[in-house]
């Protein structure tokens, strides 16, 4: 297909505004997926995405569309996630596109990630087509929302499309706009090959599969390839497009989106953001890559059985191919032995990574309490980054501890300013500004420590505002704070993986809540187990898990034997996410108790 008949675009929106549902309708209308194979949010193909009803991975798909003028177009669509923890997926997808559909829920209006994603798209020089979705809802305010969008983008209100992805209203005009309002790709088909790797996954047979956008030249299966950053060379095994399954085509032309099965078995040779070129006629300059991701939250991931350490390493490496926002390095813990300190974009990201490692690689893991990265200034003037409370140096050599602060923006109906204010100031937030989006909705700006934000701030905001508030944040800088390490002792033994860093003023309060929470989640054991919180060797709080008295005194006769045995087998095998420390068993929830201190 010649370049003028290609359109590459992505779907951007705040979470749940209907991107994936709109993608369904586009796939249907273009006959990409036959009606009988259609399911809701068909591009959310990962088991976890379907269970949670949320897009986690960006996914690409090619469609053929015959426009009203009779011309046939090739449309490459990338559906992106709306959750803020997966914004790195969005930014990478943008580099493979010339345009974006900015989808906004007609009832909810503009929300935090609507703006955040819009700014990412503008930065990447994309042409934007605004779309108001869910106009079928009784609570829809299509005119108002269209007006807001028009003002935001500096377009006429009638240029804002109005659709219902669910009912299939207005889908044809979306395709028309894609063809007429978005530009075709601009690359040079005759220049040496340059293809940007925007995503990848590992396939046991085909090795690393790179998802590419061909910018210049042509990518053909017969020609050996060079990865410009790592210098690795390889003969591709397969070249093709997503329909949305992988479909071999043998070549990809300039401007097209597809995949290359590189055959590379070592995952370190292929990075997202690298440029593929021909090994025979290499391009002189690589494409601009991606800004490396900056993790917000760190936690240790440890195998429940120590023998799984190497499997965990290889699983992390493979998963990283498909989750470029994941970073990790080896770490040891006295309590948990060998594992990895991993960096995530947020707690949801962390949860998804743990789940994917367990499901896709058959591992059983324990995640330690999440922490932010602190800067410790030592008496000798050195600055050390500490991403794990256990690594905090001896207080005697610490001059100062600095913690990351964020600038946060809360989008909320004006009615909820009070509760939002209260929630954020309680968490050491500092108020900055209020801006009115319209007469009803405001954006409140604060500064607050990241450590206070990661701990369920988002959920708390939602419940304080009946689900209306949304949140966006950016890193602001490191600031000194009166911070101390709090150790947690289980059965009189400090468990390094449970240690946390807290503000001195909150130590007593947090310690008491934490031990109480842990008491709830640590199952009763054969002996009573004291749980203590200590700061600088002084116990600040204590709770006791009482001993297990009874573990079923049920009767057992003939008919029960098989059932009983299976129950016991399950009880035995079902020790998922439980770690044995001497005679005490600590479940995953105990490590995450620190996230739920505000619950009662």
């Amino acid at each position: 297909m010649d370049q003028t008949h290609i359109r590459n675009f992505c779907l951007l929106a705040h979470i749940d505004h209907g991107k994936s549902t709109l993608a369904d309708r586009l796939l249907e209308l273009t006959d990409t997926i036959p009606a009988r194979q259609m399911t809701e949010q068909v591009l959310d193909s990962m088991e976890l995405e379907r269970e949670k009803g949320v897009t986690i991975k960006a996914s690409a798909v090619r469609m053929r569309y015959t426009a009203t003028d009779g011309e046939e177009y090739e449309l490459n669509l990338i559906d992106t996630p709306g959750h803020v923890d997966f914004s790195y997926e969005v930014s990478r997808a943008l580099a493979a596109c010339e345009g974006a559909l900015l989808v906004v829920d007609a009832a909810q209006g503009i929300e935090a990630q609507t703006l955040a994603n819009l700014y990412l798209a503008l930065e990447a020089d994309l042409e934007i087509v605004p779309v108001v979705n869910k106009i079928d809802l009784a609570s829809a305010r299509p005119d108002e929302v269209a007006l807001e969008l028009a003002e935001l983008l500096g377009v006429e209100p009638h240029e804002v499309l109005r659709v219902s992805a669910k009912e299939g209203w207005g889908i044809e005009q979306v395709l028309k706009a894609v063809v007429t309002r978005l530009p075709p790709p601009r690359g040079d088909p005759n220049a040496p090959l340059r293809a940007l790797i925007f995503d990848s996954h590992y396939d046991p047979y085909k090795g690393v599969v790179a998802y590419v956008r061909v910018v210049d030249g042509v990518l053909v299966q017969e020609e050996p390839l060079l990865l410009m950053a790592t210098g690795a060379e390889t003969e591709p095994i397969e070249v093709g497009i997503f329909t949305p399954e992988m479909n071999p085509t043998e070549r990809l032309n300039a401007g097209e989106v597809g995949y290359v099965a590189t055959g590379l078995k070592t995952v370190r040779e292929c990075h997202v953001g690298d440029t593929l070129t021909s090994a025979l006629h290499p391009a002189s300059e690589p494409l601009p890559g991606y800004r490396p991701v900056k993790p917000m939250v760190f936690a240790g991931l440890y195998p429940v059985v120590n023998e799984d350490y190497n499997s965990l390493r290889s699983a992390l490496e493979k998963l990283q191919l498909n989750d470029a926002a994941l970073v990790f390095e080896p770490e040891t813990s006295q309590a948990l032995q060998f594992g990895f300190r991993c960096g995530f974009l947020g707690l949801f990201h962390m949860e998804i990574v743990q789940e994917r490692l367990e499901r896709e690689y058959g591992l059983d893991l324990i995640a330690t309490a999440p922490s932010v990265a602190y800067q410790v200034v030592t008496r000798s003037g050195e600055i050390v980054e500490v991403a794990s409370p256990a690594d905090l140096p001896d207080p005697a050599i610490i001059e100062e501890i600095r913690e990351p602060w964020m600038r946060i923006q809360v989008f909320t109906p004006a009615d909820y300013i009070g509760p939002v204010m209260e929630l954020i100031t309680r968490r050491r937030g500092i108020y900055r500004t209020t801006e009115y989006l319209d007469s009803q909705r405001v954006v409140l700006t604060y500064e607050m420590p990241l450590s206070e934000m990661i701990v369920d701030l988002h959920d708390r905001l939602k419940s304080a505002t009946r689900g209306y508030a949304s949140l966006d944040y950016t890193f602001d800088g490191y600031r000194p704070g009166d911070l101390v390490r709090m150790d947690i002792l289980v059965n009189k033994q400090p468990v390094d993986a449970l240690a946390l860093i807290v503000h001195r003023d909150q130590a007593y309060e947090k310690g008491s809540r934490l031990v109480r929470k842990m008491k709830e989640v640590i199952p009763r054991q054969l002996f009573k187990v004291p749980i203590q919180a200590a700061v600088g060797g002084r116990i600040v709080a204590r709770a006791t898990v009482s001993a297990l008295r009874k573990d079923v005194l049920a009767k057992c006769y003939g008919g029960d034997v098989t059932r009983k045995r299976k129950l016991l087998e399950r009880q035995k095998a079902g020790k998922k996410r439980l770690k044995q420390f001497g005679r005490v068993v600590i479940p995953q929830d105990a490590f995450l108790a620190v996230l739920r201190l505000d619950e009662d």
Partner: protein
């Protein structure tokens, strides 16, 4: 002379007047009109089993349910006739029938006795009528007492009473009263069950909805310990986790004083080899078959069997069961057939045998599996002994008092 394999015989009678609130057994209310056809089907299954397994020697027969006392006497007779025609039912066979107060008369019980039933198991459950109502039982305590008197009158010298503890909102004092009331009836045998709230039962729904409080687990443990003390005092032998039998006053073992459980090692006056039967003639021999993991044949809807190295269960619904016995001339369609390999059988032998005060004996284990306990479960035994949950002296292993309360924790080490 051919040697006939021994197997206990269980007959399942899946009919009840109405469904109790906690019941998740395979039983049905309002299907009594199926009873005659059902009995015919069971007879048919026994005939087929007789062909399949040959003339088994049957040392015990157990009519369980459901409510077997809903069977008219002539149908009980029919079942006996078929069983006796196909199997060698021992002369001294223990023949138990489960009965519910409110479903029997003295005449009926006399009839059972004359047919050969020599052990009666009465589901009395509680001495408090409000608790009986909460459980959805169809009878009162007074009716239970009456049933016991009738059973004695009819000549039953081996009587079991079932009691339940750990009910929502039940106090220790109320449980104490139930035990005392039951002891006044001098049953030869007592089965005490801790109520377990099963999924899908009305009781579960009421607890889930908050209409009833959940039972207190720790309190249930105390009720159990109270029962252990009271029954030991009253001369009962605690021979299985949930079962007590009146000890033989002229016990073959000199100096035997009933204890909470099998005497602890230092004070042991029993030989290691002593079997439950030697301490009390009233232990339930049929149920001992289960706990010793010995073979049995179960007939009737949903009945389980353990014979010839496999376990299986029959179809559950009586209608389906009747249909199946009517059409297939060979075998009742079995569901959930499971081949039990050595390792599984060893695990089951531990899981079941440790329920007994007599424990699991190394000599028996050796004879059965060709390998000793130490060799197969050395690590598990050492760990559990270390935790104070098991007693293990190289010859026999059994639960300690603490171990009895956390049986599942212990058993899980072996399966």
């Amino acid at each position: 002379m051919t040697i006939h394999k021994p197997a206990a015989l269980y007959m399942h009678i899946p009919f009840c007047r109405s469904r109790c609130a906690y019941c998740d057994f395979n039983t049905y209310a309002g299907l009594e009109e199926l009873i005659p056809a059902y009995v015919t089907a069971v007879c048919r299954e026994i005939e087929v089993a007789g062909e399949r397994w040959g003339r088994l020697t049957v040392p015990t027969i157990y009519f369980g349910g459901g409510t077997p006392s809903l069977l008219p006497l002539d149908l009980v007779r029919e079942l006996f006739q078929v069983a006796r025609s196909r199997f060698y039912v021992s002369d001294d066979a223990e023949i138990t029938l489960e009965a519910n107060p409110g479903t029997v008369t003295v005449g009926y019980l006399r009839g059972l006795r004359s047919l050969g039933v020599n052990r009666l198991s009465l589901g009395v459950q509680s001495a408090h009528d409000d608790e009986l109502r909460l459980l959805g039982r169809i009878h009162t305590w007074a009716e239970a007492v009456e049933a016991v008197e009738w059973a004695r009158e009819a000549g039953f010298a081996n009587l079991n009473l079932d009691l339940i503890f750990g009910l929502p909102a039940q106090t220790l004092a109320r449980w104490h009263q139930t035990l005392e009331a039951a002891l006044r009836l001098s049953p030869e045998h007592l089965s005490l069950y801790c109520l377990s709230v099963e999924e899908g039962t009305p009781l579960e729904r009421r607890i889930a909805s908050g209409a009833l409080p959940a039972a207190d687990e720790d309190l249930a443990a105390e009720m159990y310990e109270l029962a252990e003390e009271m029954l030991a005092e009253a001369g009962y032998f605690h021979y299985e986790i949930s079962n007590w039998a009146k000890a033989n006053p002229k016990s073959q073992i000199p100096n035997y004083k009933p204890q909470k459980w099998w005497p602890e090692p230092e004070t042991r006056s029993l030989k290691h080899e002593t079997l439950s039967e030697e301490v009390s003639p009233y232990v339930c021999r049929h149920n001992l078959t289960y706990w010793r993991n010995e073979p049995w044949l179960g007939v009737g809807a949903g009945a389980h069997s353990w014979l010839g190295g496999r376990r299986w269960a029959n179809v559950r619904h009586p209608r389906e069961y009747i249909a199946a016995c009517g059409t297939s001339c060979q075998l009742v369609p079995h569901q959930e057939v499971e081949e039990i390999d050595r390792r599984k059988e060893m695990g089951e032998t531990m899981m079941l045998g440790l329920r007994l005060a007599e424990g699991v004996r190394d000599t028996r284990f050796q004879a059965r599996f060709g390998r000793g306990l130490e060799q197969v479960f050395g690590a598990e035994l050492a760990e559990l002994q270390d935790l104070g949950l098991l007693e293990w002296n190289g010859r026999v292993t059994r639960l300690t008092a603490r171990g009895r309360l956390v049986g599942n924790y212990v058993f899980a080490h072996f399966v």
